[in-house]
Structures are given as C-alpha cells and as structure tokens.
Amino acid sequence: MNTLASFYREREQTILGGGFILLLILAWQSIPSLVSLPKGISLFFTTPVEVVRAFHQLVVRNEIQSHVYVSAVEFVVGLAMAVLVGLPLGLVMGRSKILDAMLDPFVTAFNATPRLIFLPLLILWLGIGIWSKIMIVFVGAVFPLLINTYEGVKNVDRVLVNVVRSFGANEWQTMKTVVLPNSVPYIVAGLRLAIGRALLGVVVGEFFGASKGLGFMIATAATNYKVDVVFVGVAIFMGLSLVLTMSVKKIETKLTRWRPEAAKTF
C-alpha cells in the first residue's frame, strides 16, 4: 500500500493529466449507452471507437493517403518558402535602421491581421490548385519567422558586436560569428509559431476551393454528415501539430536553458 502511495506521489502529474484525458474519452464513448440521444443530435454524434474505425477504413480503402500527401506538400513547401524569405529579411531588418523603419509599417499591419483574409484573393489569382494553398501557408508563416529573427538580431549583445568590429570584422563576419548564433533561440521560437500558422493555412485553405487534402476531406465529410471522418481529420491535424510544436519546443528549451526566464517568452 505504501509503495502504491509513493508511486502515485512520484507520478502524480502524469497520472492526473493522462487520467483526465482517458476519462474524457471514456465518458465520450459511453454517452450513447447511458442516455438515448434524440434523433437530431445522434445525426451529429460519433464515438471514439467509430472514429478509429473510420480511420482504419480510410486507410484500408486507400482514400486518406492522397489527402495527407497533398496537405503535407502544401505545408512543407509553404513553410520552407517562409523560412527562405523570413530569415534573411528579419536579419536585414534587424541590422539596417533605414530598412527597419521603412518596412516596419507593412510588417506590423500584416502581422496584426489574420492573413487568412487574403485567401479569396489568392484563390482568384492562383486558382484552386495547390499553389493558392502554398501561398496562404507562406503568408501565414513568414511573419512570425521574420519578427522573431528581427527580435533576435535586435537583442544581440552590443559588447560582442563591438569586440568583433574592433578586431576588424566586416558586416558579414559580424553576422556569422555573433548575430546569427545569438538569434538561433529566437528563430526556433519563431519556427514554432510559424508551424501553427502554417497548419492553420493548410486547414482553412483546403476548406474553400480545393479538391484534395485533409481540410477538403473534413469539409466534404461535414456536409455529408460523416462526423466520424471529420474527427479523423481533426485528430490527424491535432496529432501533427502536437508532435511538431512539442519537438520544436524541446529544441527551444535546450537552446534557451542558459537564458533568464524573462527572455524566453517574447
């Protein structure tokens, strides 16, 4: 008995946290057998077991693979473009006062606005194919990356910059030896935010004017009242988002361990 108590005390956090989620899933599963749902609600209702079964069916019938593939391509290409544009622009804005002052109004305005409002415009320009989705992922993800890189460059230790300068380093060498290494934790934090925005772009972009992809699958399933398929899609997005953000967060804590607590949340 005593060992059980100490076992619980050591792992209280995991047991309570995991237990609560398990309990919720069990409660969800047992609703239909406890209360008889009225017809109107049972149309929208599904249970975890049915969701798993639907997922299995989709995989076996080879229906989900192409959706996952299209969504993955949109996500990866859009995010890669965001990194390729956001990082250099953030570095330049952080180093050049004039460019910073000139670009700041645009960056602030676009960052404050959910970029999803450009979706109808992008669909008009690029059609309902994969490129409008890649662009919506790109505009969603580029600003957190740009702004965090900028913050990282701005927060670089002036003393270090002056030291390499006095030893005759040019702008490129300063960038390479001091500025970039110093901003890596910020960039990783920006990447974490960007992943969230990119997934948002994939989901919403595929809701409207798409013919493939997980978001499209969710939207069509919802209109056909296939609630279990909706939850399959939602669960995949949740899982992906959790795995990706948690692993980036791991890297982040590793990189920022030496940093004072206040600097971690920006």
């Binding site: 209280e12 956090q13 309570l16 946290g17 995991g18 237990g19 609560f20 989620i21 929208f44 006062k97 004039i98 910073d100 002052a101 000139m102 670009l103 700041d104 109004p105 645009f106 602030t108 305005a109 676009f110 404050a112 606005t113 959910p114 999803l116 409002i117 450009f118 979706l119 109808p120 415009l121 008009l124 320009w125 974490r192 935010l193 969230g196 997934l199 948002l200 989901v203 919403v204 809701f207 409207f208 978001g215 969710i218 939207a219 399933a221 919802a222 209109t223 009242y225 909706v230 899609g233 939602v234 997005f237 949740m238 988002s241 959790l242 953000t245 948690m246 206040a262 949340t265 920006f266």
Partner: protein, 262 residues
C-alpha cells in the same frame, strides 16, 4: 543643422510614412503607365479609394461589420467569462493544474479551426455557429494567461493576507486579481487575433452577411477594388486593436508579461 537634428529624432516615423505613401504611389504609377492591369485580377489605389468611399458612405459595409461584431462580442465574452476562472483555478490548485494542463495544452496547440465545418453544421450558419467558433479559438489564451498570472503571484502577499486573517475570497480579490491584470491584457491581444480568424473562417465557410462574407463575395464577383477596400478596413480594425493593446501592455506591465500565442 536644427533640421538635421529634428530628422534624426523622428527618423522612424518619417521613413515609415514615406515608404507607405511611396508604395501606394508606385503601385498607382506602375498600374497606370507600365503594365495595364486586367481589372478582373488586379486593381490600383485610385480605384480602391473610390470603392472605399462607396463602401464607407453606403450602409452595406457597416451592416456587415455590425453583424460580424455581434458574433465576435458573444463568442469573446463567453471566452472571458469561462476562460479566466478556469485559468485562475488551474494556477491556484496544483492538482487542478496537473489534471487540466495536458488536455488544454493539446487543444491550444492544435488547429481547432478544423472543427469549423462541424460547428457550423451543428449550430447553423447564423450567429451561434460563428460565436461558438470564436469562443473555441479565443478561450485558450485567457485560460493560459490567467494561469500564468496566478503562477506569478507573489507568495509573500498571499501569506500576508493569510497572516492578517484574510479568507480565501480576499486572496482571490486582493492579491490574485491585481497580479493577473497585465497577463489579461496580453491574453486579450492574442485572443482578438484568434477571434478574428474565427470570424473570417466562419463567414468564408457559410454565411450570408458579415465582413468575411463581404470579402469572399467581392472576390467571387471580381469586384477587386471593393475587395481590397474591405480587406484594408479589416486590417485597420486589427491593427488598431492589437497595437492599442500592445501599448496598454507596455503601460500596465513594462517588464513584458504574458504568454505569446502557443
């Protein structure tokens, strides 16, 4: 020389204004003289200005904004009313934190917008569906910021209240509430951004009125100047709110409190 000093002092706003004005002038010039734009796919500032005038002085846009704001206010108030108590409770009771934190973190980190089609089918295309979506997106910043605010409460102050015979209620109202305020401002800023996402997605997906619906309808009917004007209006609203709250954040908490989204 004095002019030079003045310039150095106001360099940022001057350069910023110049670049914004320059951007629109260049756009206008290019669209008029260099490349003649296809009006179905692109437009230019002068036409946007005319369209904006029409929208702002006609009643249409205001009606759309009113419809969207109503859904926003409902969803957002619900998020405040439900989110803050949960967050405070989580921050105050260790076991509550252990129990609820993994679940809420998972929900906060995932793109809950994916549930939009389902919510709209369940709650309908009107106010309720949109408000539910906005609530779902906006509630987590409030939960986690209230939580972080309580966590940062000075234990000493709590002990002082206790030592002078204060009750649980006094601790909540005299210590915890004031110390979570700066976090609340940060939470509000993040929640507003997510709430606007909710409005837009809800109205793109299925609606018959509202600002998001207006933008997508202008796009569908190739009325590009009106579309750009509506986008600019929404951008202005978003900038005013987020930048205003950021300013407020710097006033109530110059040391920068609050959790960034995700």
């Amino acid at each position: 020389m004095a002019l030079r000093e003045k310039y150095d002092e106001y360099q940022r706003p001057i350069l910023g204004t110049i670049s914004v004005i320059g951007f629109f002038l260049l756009w206008e010039w290019v669209a008029t003289y260099v490349i003649t734009v296809n009006p179905f796919f692109f437009t230019q500032p002068s036409k946007i200005a005319v369209a904006a005038k029409g929208l702002l002085f006609g009643g249409e846009l205001w009606k759309d904004l009113a419809v969207s704001s109503k859904a926003f206010v409902w969803g957002f108030s619900l998020a405040v009313i439900i989110g803050i108590p949960i967050g405070v409770f989580m921050g105050w009771r260790r076991r509550a934190e252990y129990t609820l934190d993994p679940f809420f973190t998972a929900l906060y980190a995932s793109p809950l917008v994916a549930l939009a089609p389902l919510l709209i089918i369940i709650f309908g295309v009107g106010l309720t569906g949109k408000a539910a979506l906005i609530f779902l997106l906006a509630v987590f910043p409030f939960i986690f910021n209230a939580f972080a605010g309580v966590k940062s409460t000075d234990r000493l102050l709590v002990n002082v209240v206790r030592a002078f015979g204060g009750r649980e209620k006094d601790i909540y109202f005299k210590v915890i509430l004031p110390s979570i305020l700066p976090y609340m401002v940060a939470g509000t800023r993040i929640a507003i951004g997510r709430g606007i996402v909710g409005i837009i997605v809800g109205e793109f997906y299925a609606a018959s009125e509202g600002i998001g619906f207006a933008i997508s309808r202008f796009g569908d009917t190739y009325r590009l100047p009106e579309m750009f004007a509506a986008i600019l209006v929404l951008m202005t609203v978003a900038v005013v709110f987020t930048e205003g709250l950021r300013k407020l954040e710097n006033i109530v908490a110059p040391w920068k409190a609050g959790q960034e989204a995700r």
